[in-house]
Symmetry: C2
Subunit: 223 residues, 2 copies
Amino acid sequence: MKYSASKENYIKAIFHLQQELEQVSTNSLAEALETAPASVTDMLKKLKAQQLLQYERYRGVRLTASGKKLAIQIIRKHRLWELFLVEKLQFGWEEVHDIAEELEHISSSKLVDRLDEFLGFPKADPHGDPIPDMQGRIPALRQSTVSEMPESGFGRVSGIGDQSPAMLALLRHNHIALGAHLQVRKRFEADRSVEIKLAGHPAVNISEHVAKNIRVTYENNPQ
Amino acid sequence: MKYSASKENYIKAIFHLQQELEQVSTNSLAEALETAPASVTDMLKKLKAQQLLQYERYRGVRLTASGKKLAIQIIRKHRLWELFLVEKLQFGWEEVHDIAEELEHISSSKLVDRLDEFLGFPKADPHGDPIPDMQGRIPALRQSTVSEMPESGFGRVSGIGDQSPAMLALLRHNHIALGAHLQVRKRFEADRSVEIKLAGHPAVNISEHVAKNIRVTYENNPQ
DNA sequence: ATAAAAATTTAGACAAATCTAAAAAAATGG
DNA sequence: CCATTTTTTTAGATTTGTCTAAATTTTTAT
């Protein structure tokens, strides 16, 4: 079934809001979508008629199984396109969101799956958010810091705690940037420093202080 | 300025129809867009108000300079996306048109230009049609056969004349497929056979008969 | 418990893009 | 050259997604 970009945006917004609260209110949706509450009410009726959500007036809204499935498909597309833009077309991680908002509504599912393959079935987008797979499974990712990663674990830089010029200079020197992939090579108990490796550069040692400042996203299913 | 997908489709259709006839009629547009003539009239008024075309009632339509510019931008996007789908995502050349119809309406011009760069500033799409460059210049391409290409000229296979099983077997054996890039290495006057080279394979010799059956698109500006 | 505040829905309108049916203009062919 | 056919436009509706203003329901706080 095909849905308009507008409907897809509603479904996606409801899905995201549902992460926090089980029940999603009309007003919170209106705010998220930057639209009038009355417009939301109208749309909810249409989406209910299409069985994408449960809705009783004044009672808030909740996605059905097929609504959730649709939401995950859209999120999958969005995140794969973001990664494509950053990884293949050299966009900065901050500039890709708006473009991906448009690309996520391209309908061909064969296109998404081929894109997934082209990117090597990635687990996270450039912001560190998990990418659902073809079956809609969302990989469990852990958001923490380099100081908590296991030895030989792979991760992606998702944020920096202390953004002082001194810290940024150190990070830049070691090619540690938002979105960078890194591997923890060795942990040293003596001073809790960590040796990390970034693609294309020799391994470097970073102090516990620095390791605690580098937020990373990594897969949480090592078996 | 941003235009709806619908408006962009009108502009593109007018541009294509204008290649044949200077003046484009309401009915021919309606047929091309599979829409009612009355809808075309309505839209033409809107597009005229936006200075994209000249239009007097009952007099047909003609793109202005800015209308032409927009049309070329859209065609550029369409053809770059088609090439991307075939070259990077392994789609067949026959399946890409509909997907590119959607992708061509993604607005970011930075995206198109990055895509162009990513693909190596190609001159033609998988169907052999020329891709306009960033400035809107359309490369002059010649549609002919391998038997007419100059020595050391590069081209892309755009079609096959005799599609008998025997011919197709020969072509497949030599990795000659629609969309393939090839170079004419040497022409032999003795039997008018031609030595051609495809990427990733050793050069092969093909008879005049076969060379006349391979339709190619190649740049016509050797200088 | 109930009055005020907040949230939500209804009612009525509008813009974009489309349609059908009818009217008007242009083209054509004895 | 003028009657018929063809093309094009106008008129009036429809659908989708949106809006504002007013009405209604729920929540909250005294």
